[in-house]
Symmetry: D2
Subunit: 366 residues, 4 copies
């Protein structure tokens, strides 16, 4: 029902591929933060199509406009409306899909739920709906940078059957941020990245697509974020990641591997590191009892292969007749490179919401 994310620092999303704009309204960004479009555009550029040979070749500049909420380049405390106006809407590409349910797309479920669906580009199920999240996430990242020591970095850790070697030591978040922008895949290991790039190009040539895994690291997160029971930080992060199109799985800390461990192996012993309480291992992924403990937050997010492929597929039309179809047009053979900034934005939005509310957890601070 809701198109909102967050409880206080809340983002309400709007827009779809066929409409005139996509964007969001971000409520309760505190007043007094410097903000212009230049803070937001770089992340949108990392998300936009046409940025490299391995992404869709659609050409959308995705230029953001701040419609409200700032005055003289400073936030005022009022809702910040952000919009990207759609430009490259090739209706023709989609005409042949008007009456067909594309396999593993939202065509059929939207048809069942809403009756009236937009067949052009997926409508509200389009990955363009993530533009609002990336834009709002850039504001969240800026706030985190101003008020905390956190660094957020997401990166591609596997594509199809290619994954970072188990010996690969994941560097700190700031290093990851630099390394991933040196290749189009956004994998921090340049060797593996090259292999992944080649794989994606090969798959694209076949007219097929591949999935993969994105990892998320938050270094030096504030302690105390999240709360028990239903606003657990792990629950909030899992929810928002699972809402990114194509995501089918989410792990925090040890994840599924943790289910194959004993308590004596899995428990993260506390120790005192010159007065600061830390854990020797981090199977918890930085979150215990739903609340951050100050250790790095670590998540893994599984993406399925892009549903749109240029191979012939069996399906049915809206009369219920069995038909075959073959997509044409320009599609991402692998969504992961462009999904990296989406994962980062999603995390940043949750963290800021919880960071702000955490100020109210103890009476002595209020």
């Amino acid at each position: 029902m809701s198109s909102s994310l967050g409880t206080f620092f809340r983002m309400t999303s709007f827009g779809e591929s066929h409409g005139s704009a996509v964007g969001c309204v971000l409520e309760n960004c505190p007043a007094g933060m410097p903000l212009t479009e230049a803070d937001i555009q770089p992340d949108l550029d990392r998300r936009k199509p046409g940025q490299s040979k391995i992404t869709t070749q659609r050409n959308e500049p995705d230029t953001v406009r701040i419609l409200s909420g700032t005055y003289q380049n400073m936030t005022t405390g009022a809702p910040i409306a952000l919009a990207v106006f759609n430009e490259d809407q090739k209706e023709k590409d989609y005409a042949n899909l008007e009456h067909i349910f594309r396999p593993s797309h939202a065509d059929y479920t939207y048809h069942v739920k809403y009756g009236h669906r937009a067949h052009t580009g997926g409508g509200r199920s389009s990955a363009r709906t993530t533009i609002g999240m990336v834009a709002a996430g850039a504001i969240a990242k800026k706030l985190l940078a101003l008020k905390t020591k956190s660094s957020i970095a997401a990166y591609v850790s596997s594509v199809y059957n290619l994954e970072l070697s188990r010996d690969y030591k994941v560097p700190d978040a700031r290093t990851i941020q630099k390394e991933i922008e040196k290749n189009p895949v956004r994998c921090p290991d340049q060797e593996t990245a090259k292999k992944m790039e080649r794989l994606i190009l090969d798959v694209a040539k076949e007219g097929d697509s591949v999935g993969g895994v994105i990892d998320l690291v938050v270094d030096h997160p504030p302690e105390g974020l999240g709360s028990p029971v239903f606003a657990r930080l792990d629950g909030l992060l899992a929810s928002v990641m699972m809402c990114i199109p194509a995501v089918k799985g989410v792990e925090i800390g040890s994840g599924f591997a943790g289910s194959r461990m004993k308590g004596s192996e899995h428990n993260d012993s506390f120790y005192s590191d010159a007065g600061r309480i830390r854990t020797r291992t981090n199977f918890s992924g930085g979150i215990q009892g739903g609340i951050s403990n100050g250790e790095p937050i670590f998540m893994r997010i599984a993406f399925k292969p892009t549903a749109t492929i240029r191979k012939e597929q069996e399906t049915v039309n809206d009369k219920g007749e069995n038909v075959t179809m073959k997509a044409s047009g320009r599609h991402d053979p692998c969504v992961l490179p462009r999904a990296v900034p989406i994962v980062e934005a999603a995390a940043a939005l949750i963290l800021v919401d919880q960071f702000l509310l955490n100020h109210l957890s103890k009476l002595e601070n209020t």
Copy 2:
């Protein structure tokens, strides 16, 4: 921040292990549904401690009382308050833990966030907080049974390194419901269940604990549940599952395995089954574009091993000094058997909320 689950059919949780009651308030259960405590108690009995040799031997009857929201054994539309009064609070068991942060528990994070923590039995982080969810979930299950053809079944599919054989064919939900109650592990395959039971007893003897995986199946779910972007059915389910204590990972449909597939393998072809549109495979796990497509919903939920073990562990106390500790008391060596009804309840609550709201998605139905 929030102790609520759901948007319309909304459950607000309260209570902790050391207080006088745990329970919840369930809003917007439609009026006119027969309801007594007898509808709720059976699921609480499946969750309660002391039910078998492989669960904690604490003895809590966990008897539920309906405090409001019914009249003459019928729902009135008013909020339904449910409470289980705590009985077996052995404060002594916990006295030695007052100043110690137990590894991989919420002790440290609660201390950081709230200052004042309850050291007895985990307080608000206790698994007793799931009682409210199981109780409200029983009401949700009843509503689903009255108004839809859905069947919900969760079951233990792996414990530590023991898992259901890949050849094991998961039966339909109704069969699972029967099979899992034939053994204390709640695994539908009796052979595997026996091995799991032995493993859990062995681990308990060692003073250690193990994790595992629970699978969830919803047969014949209504089509059209969930909505795009942030109230996706997969996002809602992932969120609630990740909020169950000890959960570290969640998969829907193909999950992480899907990330190692090609689009041509992963896409679920539609076909017409005597007029009804179905898919030949179900890698989507019954959810496409965030909305149920009528195929079985399938999820996997990974649980870490219980944090409380009777082995000596290193940790720190609240003065930041390195100490060792060894838990005594009665704990579950494996939380999974008792978590099965929790997973089912969590799913039922999300499904009913979305089922009700789905009535409002098309103008013609309003």
Copy 3:
């Protein structure tokens, strides 16, 4: 904190006088309703400045654009983003106000709360923020017209000391709708309207301003809207009306006069009108126990005089120094004529939200 109105049919407002656009995002408008800008613009034209001699002479066309949520002129179920781009921003008019707190404006309170305020035109406190509500309200009115027999009409019943004669019989809502558009005041009695118009012109000449009262009538509302305790229909209506700038009082049914009555006078006797249950009097104003009973809903809303006047006033500046000020520029001497469509929109939004949710109140209907 929240810039949202409504629980399910929810409108999130954005924009301020000095930004580039004002508008809103309307969530959960059911799919399948015909909708174009032409459904919305007429109400914005009734609200816009410069529409008559007795309103401010600023010239803003206030042209609405639908940015999302429709496809082929039909709602899709996705959020509907509506925007009016600001055009007539005369910054010069406000330069002298940069450091002054205008009496009975939001200047001081915004300064205290947010630190950074926009002195141009009131920013987020500007009446332009009601544009989003009027635009979304037009969609709500259309939905009500399609699905119910309700008619909503607001009208000016008093200006300063001029009020509709106690003998004046308020006509039905449809007649009011026609009558009020025959004069610039939006009073349904043409004689009184003329006097009010003259009064407003006289007051404007003095450089002063006046308040007044707007009445709201909803004929043939659906029964059963609202719910007990905190989502009472009267509470929701009072809240939204009190959120319209300049409102200082709200009455439902008998209002303050009801406080001077005895129960035997005030109780609305039920009787059977050819099988339909009605009340002989309507001191309840159509709402009993927080829920509509099908009788006309009747409210009165008190507006204070416009704070901006062209007379010299004492105040302080942001250094805390006592100063005098005199506003120049173009302001409404009386906000009521332009507030009539705002009151109607506010009521329509609440009614639709409750109308939709009311479908879920009984199990048998779900």
Copy 4:
């Protein structure tokens, strides 16, 4: 739909007259506040029936229990569940009402909305539902007392045609708090109180009832509470007051009288009072642009006469037949004396919610 009040410091209400308990769950009370039942019971005693000759003679001790959210008499940050178990349920009193719609009660609207209604004592429409609000409000009052200089006082300013003389100078809130407890009416002027008491007794003897007005004063409220557009402090206060049973009108500051004033009379001039910015008049009632300006908050709340009277009335039964009825039983001839603590509690809950959130309005404070 919602049984909740507040956004962060949120109270969810449950219970009805015929159930086993009434109460609430209060979320996000900051951790570290001393709290026991003794902080709450006094306000419940001021609300309870049977406290004086002019209230209903039902005898309900209304003893509160804290079910969760505290540990060692200190709040933990977890939800605080509060319950009062119902004792004096005389079903017999209501047997004759099973099929009758009492005039100006919620019987008919509940019947229409929910089908199944509780005829005993009004069910969810009973004034007993305010117990949760009074209990949670006592916690809010304590928090305000610990963290701010605010004092909240409500008092009866008129009963039927008897009102405080216009010359009566309303004392400060702390004085009001003392004065009103010297008489059963809770009017701060002892002379007027005596007359009101006599009037109420006379009316009770007739079997009739009367309405009246309660005034609310908040001295020294924090500045900056509330926010623009839909979470205006005046809107929030109006909403919660209109949700108290029997309320038909709400005014803030000048209220309806303000609608008969000119801007030059009504504007509250600012001046510097030894560095502190204050206003010379307070027609704004302490709220400007929806945000508190530090001046006393002033509201007036109109209550209709109690619907239950011991006079014969015309009505219909649930077959739609015209019948007559005459209530027996024990009812308040005037609800105002017992409504004073309810009004105070309602205000306290809103103020604390806004007080907490206001900490997050400026970036520099976060």
